[in-house]
């Protein structure tokens, strides 16, 4: 158990090194970072900047310097906002996290009961409608879903605000939009993992012993179906953060996603790098926690 945890931890560090390398590559992939940062500047100015920012040094040295800087939380100054890039990203983080967490909660509270129902009443009307919704949900572009919700609830019926972040009502449409990404996928997992355990011998035994149907489903079946759900929910967190970038742009929410999208339009690469790194770091940490949870929940591993 302890060696497993230690091995996971080493893996975490290796993956973080890889994540920094990819983040570093964003600025260097085009070959000339200075041309990317100031496309209109005359060549003489560019040459000066290249020299002063150390872009003429070997890439390995530049990468080492980059890792040193980001380990101290220094992603450089935003060109546009004239402030440290990391501070700007962290300032916007609560909005993104709140949106993601609420959407995740909504997704789980929809997907678990409906998924169980569809598995228990296989091939019923509920099951078929759920499958239909899953297909529909996975085929809609997120931003279009958001725009259609605006069209319906804000423009047509004037029930909810179009955009902004001022009231709880303003949160409803973004949350629904984001949840439309993850609910179908979670629903599918709940259904299939329930179907897998529901006909196993021990469940049948429990039924034969006269355990009530409700208890069989919630206690015997669900607990074992929960393991894959935990892993998938962890992976979904990354997907939701990706969806949050789009959702924030649709509804003009002041989150990290919109900051990154804005920074990309202004070629403000310190912000892009800081944003990409922080979001990836969150995904890595969430999945690390999920891994630990999995080790803890899975008795087969725990005993070893």
């Amino acid at each position: 158990m302890l060696t497993l945890v230690a091995r996971r931890f080493v893996r975490l560090l290796v993956v973080l090194a890889g994540v920094s390398l990819v983040t570093f590559a964003i600025l260097h992939v085009s070959g000339d970072p200075v041309a990317l940062m100031m496309p209109e500047a005359p060549e003489a100015d560019r040459a000066g900047l290249r020299q002063s920012m150390g872009f003429n040094d070997p890439l390995a040295l530049q990468f080492a310097r980059f890792v040193g800087n980001i380990s101290r939380g220094d992603f450089g100054q935003s060109f546009f906002h004239r402030a440290p890039a990391l501070a700007l990203v962290l300032e916007r983080m609560p909005v993104t996290l709140l949106l993601t967490v609420i959407a995740m909660g909504l997704s789980l509270s929809l997907a678990i009961p409906i998924g169980i129902l569809s598995a228990v009443r296989r091939n019923s009307v509920v099951d078929h409608s759920a499958t239909f919704v899953v297909f529909l949900g996975t085929s809609m572009p997120v931003f279009w879903t958001g725009i259609m919700l605006i069209l319906l609830f804000a423009v047509r019926f004037r029930l909810l605000p179009v955009s902004g972040w001022e009231s709880w009502a303003a949160l409803i449409l973004p949350t629904l939009t984001l949840a439309s990404v993850s609910t179908p996928l979670l629903l599918r997992i709940v259904r299939s993992s329930m179907l897998e355990v529901i006909n196993l011998d021990y469940v049948r035994t429990a039924r034969a012993k006269g355990v009530s149907e409700w208890l069989v489903i919630c206690h015997h079946a669900l607990i074992n179906a929960a393991l894959p759900l935990v892993t998938v929910a962890g992976l979904q967190f990354g997907l939701l953060l990706g969806g949050a970038i789009i959702t924030e742009t649709v509804f003009a929410l002041p989150g990290v996603g919109r900051l990154i999208v804005g920074a990309i339009r202004q070629l403000d690469f310190p912000i892009v790098q800081a944003g990409v790194f922080v979001l990836a770091l969150i995904v890595v940490l969430v999945n690390f926690v999920v891994d630990m949870l999995y080790l803890y929940l899975n008795p087969q591993i725990r005993v070893r």
Partner: protein
């Protein structure tokens, strides 16, 4: 982070499909009404894309300020010449959707081709060579999985400069890891099979073993995964357009049409609605076909 090591995908090994199985798979596919609907929709979309100049009622680029914001034909004020209405500069929406199918399909299929080449190659090498190569490849997979999907594509397309080629390559290079994981798992299982042992025993070269004995047995999963990835790549291309790093061309794309339509959503709902429906129908059709292919080809489901 590594679901690869904790919960390996349950992959059963596909024996090479004998002819009877193959026809059974085909029968399963055609007997399903949803899959048939999917195939029909796809045929229409592909046909429209290929024959765009002949089926589009208007030039998709021609502007006409007199005809701005013509609503769809069934809405009062509609014009039968413009079935789905016109946009803010009077361009015919139906024609733009028909032409837009070209970009979506090209990006979807080409991005998957890039992912396939990279992902399958790495999966074969990783599963066949194991050891250090495997460790490195799986680390790269874990790193790739650490980024929220689309975020990486967004940053790299912006850095490389938006163009059709950039979008294809970047989407391809951010979507390969699923093939690597599955192909690797299948190869690891196949290695232990008698027919692979036998091939090794009679002195087949490693290359021959990979290409002749291992690769063909992963085709079922690869076909299913790549079908479903085409759908995802189409959605991603639209999302990149929406986030402002589109193909950079003047040619209409569905994502770009929705983006422009968003600004007019309160005055002209049809601008954003119809291109979105085009994406929805196309992606739904691909998903239906892909899902049915999985049922038909995947030995686990059979």
């Amino acid at each position: 982070m590594s679901i690869g090591t904790l919960a390996p995908p349950r992959v059963a090994v596909a024996a090479p499909l004998p002819e009877s199985d193959r026809s059974r798979a085909w029968r399963k596919l055609v007997r399903n009404p949803a899959a048939i609907a999917g195939v029909l929709i796809l045929l229409v979309v592909i046909g429209a894309a290929v024959a765009a100049p002949y089926v589009a009622p208007h030039d998709p680029m021609r502007q006409s300020l007199l005809r701005r914001f013509t609503p769809p034909v069934w809405v009062p004020g509609g014009n039968p010449a413009y079935l789905l209405g016109t946009d803010q500069v009077g361009r015919d929406i139906l024609s733009r959707i028909i032409y837009g199918a070209r970009i979506s399909l090209v990006v979807g299929v080409s991005a998957v081709a890039v992912s396939l080449v990279v992902g399958v190659t790495l999966g074969l090498l990783s599963g066949f060579l194991r050891g250090r190569v495997d460790a490195v490849v799986m680390t790269v997979v874990d790193v790739t999985l650490s980024f929220p999907p689309l975020l990486l594509a967004l940053a790299f397309v912006a850095a490389l400069g938006p163009s059709l080629l950039t979008i294809i390559v970047v989407l391809g290079l951010t979507g390969w890891e699923r093939y690597t994981r599955v192909v690797r798992a299948e190869v690891l299982a196949l290695r232990e099979k008698d027919f692979v042992e036998a091939a090794r025993a009679i002195g087949a070269s490693p290359l021959r073993m990979i290409l002749r004995h291992l690769l063909p047995n992963t085709f079922s999963s690869i076909i299913v995964m790549s079908t479903l990835q085409v759908a995802q790549a189409i959605l991603q291309e639209a999302a990149l357009s929406f986030l402002g790093v589109g193909t950079g061309s003047a040619h209409p794309t569905w994502g770009q049409m929705i983006t422009l339509g968003r600004d007019f959503v309160s005055v002209a709902w049809w601008l954003a609605t119809f291109p979105g429906l085009a994406i929805l129908l196309t992606v739904l059709a691909i998903n239906l076909v892909g899902d049915r292919l999985r049922d038909a080809l995947d030995p686990r489901v059979r």
